[in-house]
Amino acid sequence: MTAPAPIPARVPAPVGLLAELTHRCPLQCPYCSNPLELERQASELSTAQWINVLDQAADLGVLQLHLSGGEPTARRDLEQLVAHAAKRQLYSNLITSGYGVTRDRLAALTASGLDHLQISIQDSDPVNADRIAGVPGAHARKVALAGFARALDLALTINAPIHRQNVDNLAAIIEFAVSLGARRVEVAHVQYYGWGLANRAALLPTRQQVVQSIDVVAKARHQYKGVVTFDFVAPDYYAKRPKPCMGGWGRGIINVTPSGKVLPCHAAQSIPALKFDSVTDRPLRDIWANSEAFNAYRGTAWMKEPCRSCEFKEADWGGCRCQALALTGDAANADPMCAKSPSHGEIAKLALVESTAADPPALIYRTPASAAGARSPTG
């Protein structure tokens, strides 16, 4: 065996692999983080290819595996992948819509070594929940799956994407998530990339609603101390500093798409200037350490002002590249959510106008057919 090529000292080893196993999904959430251009089943990696990806990731230093999609349980070989992850001591986290997962399937996944289950819910109110997911009956199936997880004593996180169309119901959503048996609840304001960006005017809450949601979560943390852990993700449209997107480009996370493309972030393909390598023609280690896409925005050398001379540049890494491109036209600009960005004032104005409009536009659901309409400019 030849020794693997050494990784340059400036490149940290990745800790997490986000495996988008498939873009197939029975639901149509209008804030899905998948790209508008969904990959087809025929292009998906085989079981053997995914197992090879898991091996390469573990060898590279990855500790956590997020099995995601689309709906990852649409892959019939999910049990095999989970079992292999367990063999390589990868901590496996299944991120599911909960649709179409039977009790037997969940039992088989648990027996294969699944460490943790995450189910997303759209609301505590079944009617509004199904309306947002775009599929009747979706909510009831999530509730059923949470019950199977409880019966199997499988650790459960409930993730609740929050936006204008459910934010006022947050206290009830949290109660509901806790009643489902979640030990951890993620109250995650929708992030406005991809489908979320296309639907921003229908989903962005007002500043007042965001402030209230922070308060609701603080109360819940207090009420459930020692029983339930809460994570809160704010919408950055009302922030003064951007999020450290993915903990910094090419610093900790690798995203592999259903067909094997390797991305620094799930939205990275929205930057047309970048070329992405595939696990089908280049070793993962080489892609991580040496590829053009991973090095394009790794570290701080690529930065322009105001980031270049900013004291926070190694704290937030200039924010999100996709957001910089989508809203300012240049991926190397500061994320416009930053108060130092020249575009910040414009964004604040836009957030105010969209979030307070009396009549928000209709939701564009995540279907291949609506992708064309969703691609209109939004910035």
Binding site: A13, V15, L60, G61, L63, Q64, Q89, Y91, N93, D115, H116, Q118, D153, L154, A155, T157, V178, S179, G181, R183, R184, E186, K225, G226, V227, T229, D231
Partner: protein, 97 residues
């Protein structure tokens, strides 16, 4: 409410790592890590020593006594150190008792 209650640890509790939490050696970075949902912790050396003894059988006071012998320190002081560490981990759901 859920019927679940906060676990309060005492010297007589018999702590164990929760099933969904994994303590493992990270060969790449040459250190122990604690893996939990969306969390990657690098416990202190003391915490690692404690967690390795959390088998659901030994009581907190037994664990303290073992560490006292190992590190040649008074057991009472060790107990004062490790109880809050274990309580914090129990509050996060990583340790059961």
């Amino acid at each position: 409410m859920t019927g679940r209650e906060r676990i309060i640890l005492t010297t007589h509790s018999q702590p164990a790592l929760a099933r969904h939490v994994k303590l493992r050696m990270d060969d790449t970075r040459q250190r122990w890590v604690l893996l939990a949902p969306e969390r990657l912790l690098n416990p202190s050396d003391t915490a690692i020593a404690v967690l390795q003894l959390c088998d659901g059988q030994q009581k907190v006071e037994d664990i303290a006594a073992k560490l006292a012998a190992e590190f040649d320190a008074p057991a009472a002081a060790i107990l004062d150190d490790i109880l809050p560490v274990l309580q914090d981990l129990a509050d996060k759901g990583y340790v059961t008792a």
